[in-house]
């Protein structure tokens, strides 16, 4: 009975022959492109439209955010190494890389909280100006996604220790990995559009 159930779980294919869970994950990620695309577009639309400060050039610290970006890129590498270990059925190493990914994710989120706090101290809040509204909504949504990813990673590690992962642990690791890498590519775009491309002069400035 249990084997029959396991077979049912692991061989759920769509009529195209694709694994339905994986197809659903890719469809979800495709829909997330629209979500983050909308938020990035809102930020770009209102760039330089704020009538009061603080402005991006007053608060951004490119060096600090660059370190955060390196941390998130490193977490993508550890995530893919964990999938590689799962494929090789080296579950101890898989857990190690999963925990390393979660720790790097926590560093990123911690860095973001610190950044938000320092912006708040400089007078930038969600309600201060258009820059504050669009910036906090965009990066805040991204931060929430990273946090959800960390929870998924920790749940995966807990399930792995309990032995309640499926017969093929590489598959759930791959699914969580897809989500994690997506969060990384969203940050790759945010880092360029929000932080690296210089903001136009404040609205009304000569």
């Amino acid at each position: 009975m249990a084997d029959a159930h396991a077979d049912l779980v692991h061989t759920e294919y769509t009529s195209t022959g694709l694994r339905s869970t994986k197809l659903a994950m890719w469809l979800f990620l495709a829909s997330e492109c629209l979500l983050f695309g909308g938020l990035i577009t809102a930020y770009v639309l209102y760039r330089g439209q704020s009538t009061t400060g603080p402005y991006p050039q007053d608060v951004f610290d490119i060096g600090y955010t660059s370190v955060s970006s390196f941390v998130l890129l490193a977490s993508s590498l550890t995530m893919v190494l964990s999938h590689n270990a799962a494929l090789a059925r080296d579950y101890a190493r898989m857990r190690l890389w999963l925990l390393a990914t979660a720790m790097l994710g926590l560093c990123f989120v911690g860095g973001q909280v610190f950044e938000f706090t320092s912006f708040f101290r400089e007078g930038l809040t969600l309600h201060t100006n258009l820059f504050g509204s669009t910036f906090f909504v965009l990066t805040g949504f991204h931060g929430v996604h990273v946090t959800v990813g960390i929870l998924m990673l920790l749940i995966l590690v807990a399930f792995s220790f309990r032995g309640s992962l499926s017969d093929d642990p590489a598959f759930p690791v791959e699914m969580v990995g897809l989500y994690w890498h997506f969060v990384d590519i969203v940050w790759i775009v945010i880092f360029t559009v929000v932080y690296l491309i210089p903001a136009p002069p404040p609205h009304g400035a000569v």
Partner: protein
């Protein structure tokens, strides 16, 4: 850490009769992943250096976006395995990514973001 290549059954390992894509998925070795990771870090360094450079205006934006697109493709292709996986997954993701890009590019054009 195993640095050997892993060839595993694809996600179409037991597809229903008539399914067309039954290729064997290729998974890069840990060493290849580390190489891609280092490339991503190098590209990020280039981006940061560009932002501090004397480049400005369109040239800077084009250079930064070139780096961003390369990083995007590397992560999606290697880390998310789209380069080696069933082509239908690529098409599903491309539908969302290109659809979103087109939709929002039209919105930005409508609001004449680039002309301001």
């Amino acid at each position: 850490m195993s640095s050997t290549d892993h060839r595993t059954e694809p996600d179409t390992a037991a597809p229903p009769a008539g399914a067309s894509d039954q290729h064997v998925a290729y998974h890069p070795s840990a060493r290849e992943y580390i190489r891609v990771g280092l490339l991503l870090i190098a590209l990020t360094c280039i981006e940061v250096l560009l932002s501090y450079s004397s480049l400005s205006g369109t040239k800077l934006v084009v250079a930064l976006f070139a780096c961003t697109i390369i990083k995007f493709v590397l992560v999606v292709g290697y880390f998310m395995h789209l380069k080696f996986d069933n082509g239908r997954f690529s098409r599903v993701f491309a539908l969302g990514a290109i659809g979103a890009f087109t939709l929002y590019a039209v919105v930005l054009l409508m609001f004449r973001v680039w002309s301001s």
